[in-house]
Subunit: 327 residues, 2 copies
DNA sequence: CTCAAATAGGTAACCGGTTACACATAAGGT
DNA sequence: ACCTTATGTGTAACCGGTTACCTATTTGAG
């Protein structure tokens, strides 16, 4: 391995001078600088981030914790985070928490042990002690915490829009899937939808789920059509759930959207490729990840951050799983 | 931050002794061990991995490089890798290469700067100098290299099966999507399919693509039905492409599988949820990631590894985008 | 009882960077 | 000409661990 000493020797200067060239700090004579740069080139030297990180007590690493990257919504968040971090030269240490407190705790610990400068997390446990104790910035993504910076979508508004649209398009017997009870944005969605349904006096059934995992969604989809065989509208807690419902409906020989309308939430990339393509409430996942990274970078660089809680807009994406609006 | 010195002082011993307790090396008296452990407990100490890594010149970090985690095939690989690594206490530094050589080079560099002990990569450039030069183990995942350990699926066999199935199920005018030319497994798939089609004297068209990205697949799907309006069978290079084709076919009013049969490749989790659900050649993505991690761990621990190239089996998953077999 | 081996634990060098400090020279102001 | 300030560079301490080496005591074999 080529070290700063090798470079110093090769260039005939001290390590301090090489370090000055690398970091563009202090005074370095132009000629000296050129010699050092030449030596760096010739030896193909890149500084060891670990040594740097040890002295500075900070790395260029960010911890990213997501529930499960196998759910197509999260890779989009991850991409957004990564792309922004990449622009500023940060790297990601990544972990899937599987919504388990224990795994999460463990990941956070090793993040810290590796001197990460910040943690972005879609945690299911925002109030947990191991977040409180951290001395580095934490940004919650797609989650809400009262005392921490966070980036999330306007769930309540999303729920309202979904309900409004499904009513306007003629559903009168609506089922609402309720996402995990302890995740705020999911509850906001649910409440927004129920609010509007009640306002319009539309009858609605509630099906609760504990997680966003797909196999559970398939189960719930079956349950839904058994308990409410005459539903003509489903507001799903996310697109994965919506797809499960869609699939089950078609399997039962129902026509979508003629017999049942379905509205998802998220707008994962495949939603538009389904048949019928899925109408859904779009969350700008990539942008959310990007913004979260942006916010994190500001916090790291200790810029005074004006906006610590960023709520992103949602929008209705009309596709084929809802009927045309009645004029 | 609590350091080993604090622990040593608190326990009334030297740092060396604390280190011995931590690493279970050398001789430590039972009573001393207990005192040290108590101190560790009381101070809530966890060793700094960065300092450790600097001295040892090895971390507990593994670099993982994937083309694009937004393609639902890759998160499965990633999960497999992560779950196995997690079992052995390794963490992942993660990057998306976007199939760009430059990005890839850059990521590899920072991986090395962070003292990663190994790199698992689904590179598009397995022969590149920056892989050759690495002194740490590299495992190629879903890729093939002549001189490096690799885990991949049997592409040729997969292609053959796809062709066989589509012929047996009655297609006589088949289009084959050819994946990126420089990715071996994609070419194997393609060649396997063409082989069988030729053997059976079935006419076939070839549509080439340069990447696995979705927008390109949609483009190619359109192109396909324009150039070969009478296709009655499509062998796609992966499920994403297959979905694009499926979608385009339905949009054109064709019936799937009656008018056109479609076979994908990968078996991403959503394939079964499409309508019609997609028949495909399954690659055991999660297992491939898991095995790659396993192989990597063996290489790191310098166990003599008997099997450096692991080829995984593929299988035909019959769903609704192919017709019933003729008796 | 003697001496080698096993047990126990401290001191300090080391990993590869960064930076405080010291020192030397050049430039500029009065 | 003299003092101050700016420029340029080297030495060594430091970051937080690990471990080679040294010393001291205990154990056990002969």
């Amino acid at each position: 391995m080529v070290t700063i000493k090798d470079v110093a020797k090769h260039a005939g200067v001290s390590v301090a001078t090489v370090s000055r060239v690398l970091n563009e700090t202090g005074y370095v004579h132009e000629d000296t600088r050129r010699m050092v740069e030449k030596a760096i080139q010739e030896l193909n030297y890149t500084p060891n981030e670990v040594a740097r990180s040890l002295y500075k007590r900070k790395s260029r690493l960010i911890g990213l914790l997501l529930p499960d990257i196998t759910n197509p919504y999260f890779p989009q968040l991850a991409r957004g985070v990564e792309d922004r971090m990449q622009e500023s030269g940060f790297r990601l240490i990544f972990g899937n928490s599987d919504e388990s407190e224990q795994k999460e705790r463990h990941y956070i610990q090793t993040f810290v042990q590796n001197n990460v400068v910040g943690i972005i997390s879609s945690t299911n446990f925002p109030g947990m002690d191991f977040y409180r104790r951290l001395k580095i910035p934490v940004v919650f993504l797609d989650r809400i915490s009262s005392d921490r910076p966070a980036v999330y979508a306007d769930g309540r508004e999303g729920g309202r829009i979904a309900a409004q649209q499904i009513i306007e398009r003629g559903s009168r017997r609506v089922a609402v899937l309720q996402g995990p009870a302890h995740i705020r944005p999911a509850q906001d969605r649910f409440q927004g939808a129920v609010e509007v349904l009640q306002d319009h006096g539309v009858s609605h059934e509630v099906i609760s789920t504990d997680s966003f995992a797909l196999h559970e969604a398939e189960q719930k989809a079956k349950e839904l059509f058994e308990t409410v065989p005459d539903v003509d509208g489903v507001i799903a807690s996310n697109d994965m759930a919506a797809i499960a419902v869609l699939h089950e409906a078609l399997r039962l020989g129902k026509k979508v959207p003629e017999d049942v309308q379905i509205i998802g939430f998220d707008d994962i990339p495949l939603s538009g490729l389904l048949f019928p393509p899925l109408s859904t409430i779009r969350q700008p996942a990539y942008d959310m990840g990007y913004k979260a990274a942006e916010l994190m970078i500001q916090l790291i660089e200790e810029q005074t951050v004006e906006l610590r809680n960023i709520q992103m807009p949602v929008e209705f994406i009309e596709r084929g799983s809802t009927r045309a609006k009645k004029e």
